[in-house]
Symmetry: D2
């Protein structure tokens, strides 16, 4: 009954096999390996973007922070939501990698709205050199609350950014989960919707540790390679990153894994709904936010369930008070475990 | 005939097996995995340092830059040799992670001498707040030129640092190769010789990508965890770093691998000496610097040999001019390949 | 009719005379001048803080950013209001000087409340190394909206900070205006109220360009001198900073100047109230925020009045729409000009 | 007998008068004052550069660090001499303002030679993304050793930079002293000699604290204004910077002051030569480096002479050992004092 995160599950067998398979002889270091050529070609094909610049790093925070550092100047501010991973969960990595840019929180919940984004950007225009300058917009897809921006929503948000001449970054740590949820093409969910740079997650969806950074306009990538090296994120034995990503993309494995995770999320959500748990957000991918009584939490945890509280504190005297749990399903989630969890809801 | 670097060879079979072996079920993320407990305990045991703080990162540059950032303040200068990896090959990563510290190059070649180190440190004292402040000393063991500091040399250098109250960092990207060369204990080559913080390499000696950072005085590590996260070097699926390091340390595998690499280096050096190639540095580990005529280089490269030139340029008209090759052997080097290379020397 | 800012008025004659007076012979550079000894002694006496560390810089942003950089680590977050000068008007200087710390905006208007500050600090505790770490609290006195924290308010806010072990910084760009408003002692408004570090403004209140930074706990100042030099804020001909500050403090000149500015603010506020202008904030020092009809704004500006709009845009069709003006009076404000302005309100 | 530095003397009476003169009424803040328009126009006229971007800051370190930050990227290295002020005397300010760029020391003494500069730049080309990237060249004119690059030398050095596509910065803290020494035009000593950006000193030559930064290609200045604000170097009461610079440039005052300082230097050098003191560098401006016996130093200091030792230590037993003094004359140096000093040489 493990729902703490999709970053704690095992890697896909095909990914492990690819690692073993590439482990022969010498291979050029630092991204000059043949597998990287395969990865680059495949991502360009999948995204219908033959000119895209493609790089691999090992962590999602590195992908985000390095991508943003290539888009933002140190005196800029980056627009994101108050729950954005780049704001809440990266220990100031975006500030560090950009050399001191600021993050402006567009008010609201899981998603930005075009109106609020426009207002936030407009508000930064009145102070000349005194205030931070307008910088990139960063959207998370799947959002940190498990919801998925529709193509229309993405297009409307990037249109606002374009009105101000600002680039748009997508934190796609759960890109595959969003893609299968929308049932659209990678191009549609990115550059056709106005996205300029993408953190394309692999780790949470069955890799050991690999993320791609994709710049649809390769001019934007000019500095990325130097920033990656300077950030100590260029792997010498790069083939082991390439092999993961190559296997992940092969034969639609990445989509299959995401479908499994989303299906597990749906099963969990259905059971919770049936048990009258309040769902805080629409369940559109592999994350469920459920408001459960304190007493239920105690029962679940005692039985071995693992997950994080999103709101509220376990300590407290009222057994009926509702505390919101964040429940995440990865590709390896087993239906039996989900059902065992649901059975405990009582 | 691959001698370009020890960062381009395959991983040790035992390391690959450990990866496969740990790939089951969920494991706590971000370094809370049980394998990390094993790694920490084993490194403390090996280094006879029960209080040491131990962390894993994936690249050698990350290990160096994060360790130095925990030792140096942004207005300090770090003392190293002109050939130090941190100076030449990390694209300003130490400057980045320290927030703008300087590197002071202690004149000389592969190794610092206590006299020159003392003079360099002393020279930084005369300018009050105007000049950079004295910061840590960073030594590379095995040096970038393939030589190994003796325990006496290490002790003499760290004594100079101690005279000025400065901490000492060791870049041990090839720590194992140095250790088997000196045939001493890890403790002797580090804290017993005055080393405060160590980058303990795994990648070049048979891992896919893992390095330990060890602080012998845990107080020095206070900020390291936050710096690692902020630098995007904290792995979510951390077990895959732990598994590599655990296997690497098990049953002396790391020492065996280093002995193989050093033996390959010795075989290569012997053959080069016999062929009258000038060796630029004593061959004490797995790296050989050989001055070969331009014509010989052309013959070797045409036959498929791979290595980097350390000095000189292949282009040139004089076939007899000597150009220095850097030849590196990893654990997987095969004697037959070495002999094929040597046979081409003519 | 100049109300745009108190940073655009002339310097006090006594300050100018002191500059001329000190302009003889050679004087030790970089803060070793005798006038600095006088300044240090006088500020320690005024603040009843014989151990305080005292430094001079030339701009308010330098005072704030350098003081905060001495209190915050790069992975920390600084707590301030959404209207804080350090957030809105320093072009990311705090982020720059701290090496990438974040600013957390405590919700609300001109002032923090202890409840909201406590909630904001508490909210940063749940993410371990993933989120930013709790850093200093920064209060502005006089606030950016012209209001003044009472001693009770200051004590309550710093008590919250102390509960979490966090230092408190006061941006006192208008320190003198607040002090005469509260009619208390400098010590009462600072360290006796729990303030650890102070930006003590001189520029806005009649100097050419000088601010003091005062650390009541000198241990906190350890790094300040190096940070000041590294930030290029250590003046060689430092006597010209010292002379300004010495004259400013002599014979209560600083308090007289502030009283004049506050009196001008009060006269302006009274007239605006009489004219039925809505005052957005209580007028407690030298700043007035008045909601005037668009038509009135047009009339005032045409007649030569100078000030900034705080909310709303001059462009617009509705002549009756209320737009909030920010009106600031400095020590040199003339009653006749104020009355001329008020007469235009109609 | 004050020869410690030209940053410790008084300001020129005309500069003081201009300060007093501008101290009336309100003036637009942050560089929008009318005096700044005058300064900009006059510097463009003097430099025959009608498009040049012109800014004022208060310290030489700010001028240098901000100019270099506009020319260098964080992963670049800046080429300078080992005695460069930016390397030795700015406490890592260039590293800080550039976000972590490195300084590469071109071997030699007071001046770079084209051959050594070319070799140093060429040596940074062999490591791809691993080494720092080639960045700007920074020359000091007058050099830190009191010598002056000829126009031919400047042109030859900037030609090397141009061969590699690198911009050239001139640290002109003593620009006027060099200009009158060469008896050429400002344009000849800068953009006609290939200089792209200039720190144009005022402080050492009779101002209180003001330096201009001039970009001959205004495109290079794009980021400067934001960097200046972010670095806390944009003055609110900017008129007091403008007034200094305007007076300094008026009627050739700056050149007269430099001629006085250089003449004082020449008088001092002549006397030292007559007394058989070894002069370490040709005396071409207002600085003299003289090797005097320890006993003479003791006699001079006892008699009240003030200066810094450049090499050697006063402590020591041999009264005949020669220690090199650095002696600097400013515009206010008096012949009688110089003669008193010389009379003590014995």
């Amino acid at each position: 009954m493990y729902f703490a995160s999709d970053n704690a599950g095992p890697a896909l067998p095909e990914v492990m096999a690819a690692l073993a398979d590439c482990n022969r002889d010498y291979a050029p270091a630092y991204g000059a390996d043949a597998l990287m050529d395969e990865v680059r070609a495949e991502l360009r094909r999948l995204f219908e973007a033959p000119e895209a610049a493609v790089y691999l790093v090992a962590t999602g925070t590195a992908a985000n922070a390095l991508a943003l550092a290539s888009l933002a100047r140190p005196f800029d501010t980056i627009f994101c939501t108050p729950v954005a991973h780049i704001h809440q969960d990266e220990c100031n990595a975006p500030e560090f990698f950009t050399g001191g840019a600021k993050l402006t929180l567009v008010p609201g919940g899981d998603k930005m709205t075009p109106e609020r984004l426009r207002a936030a950007i407009a508000a930064e225009e009145t102070r000349g050199v005194h205030g931070p300058q307008r910088g990139p917009v960063s959207l998370t897809q799947v959002t940190e609350c498990g919801t998925v921006y529709s193509l229309e929503e993405l297009a409307a948000l990037s249109a606002v950014a374009r009105d101000f001449g600002l680039p748009v970054h997508m934190d796609g740590a759960r890109f595959a989960n969003a893609l299968v949820a929308l049932d659209c093409s990678p191009a549609e969910m990115t550059w056709k919707s106005g996205i300029d740079a993408l953190s394309f997650g692999g780790t949470k969806n069955g890799c050991l540790g690999v993320e791609a950074v994709i710049f649809f306009d390769p001019a934007r990538a000019r500095e990325f390679e130097l920033r990656r090296k300077r950030g100590a994120h260029l792997f010498s034995k790069h083939r082991y990153l390439s092999a993961q990503m190559a296997a992940y993309l092969r034969d639609g494995l990445w989509l299959d894994a995401a479908r499994r995770a989303n299906a597990a999320g749906a099963r969990l959500a259905e059971g919770l709904r049936a048990a009258d748990a309040g769902l805080a957000y629409p369940v559109q991918a592999n994350m469920v936010f459920a408001a459960l009584p304190r007493a239920t939490h105690h029962r679940l945890i005692q039985a071995g369930a693992q997950y994080h509280l999103w709101e509220g504190a376990l300590e407290g005297s009222d057994p009926d008070e509702r505390l919101t749990a964040r429940l995440v399903c990865d590709w390896s989630a087993r239906a039996a475990e989900t059902d065992r969890f649901l059975a405990l809801l009582g």
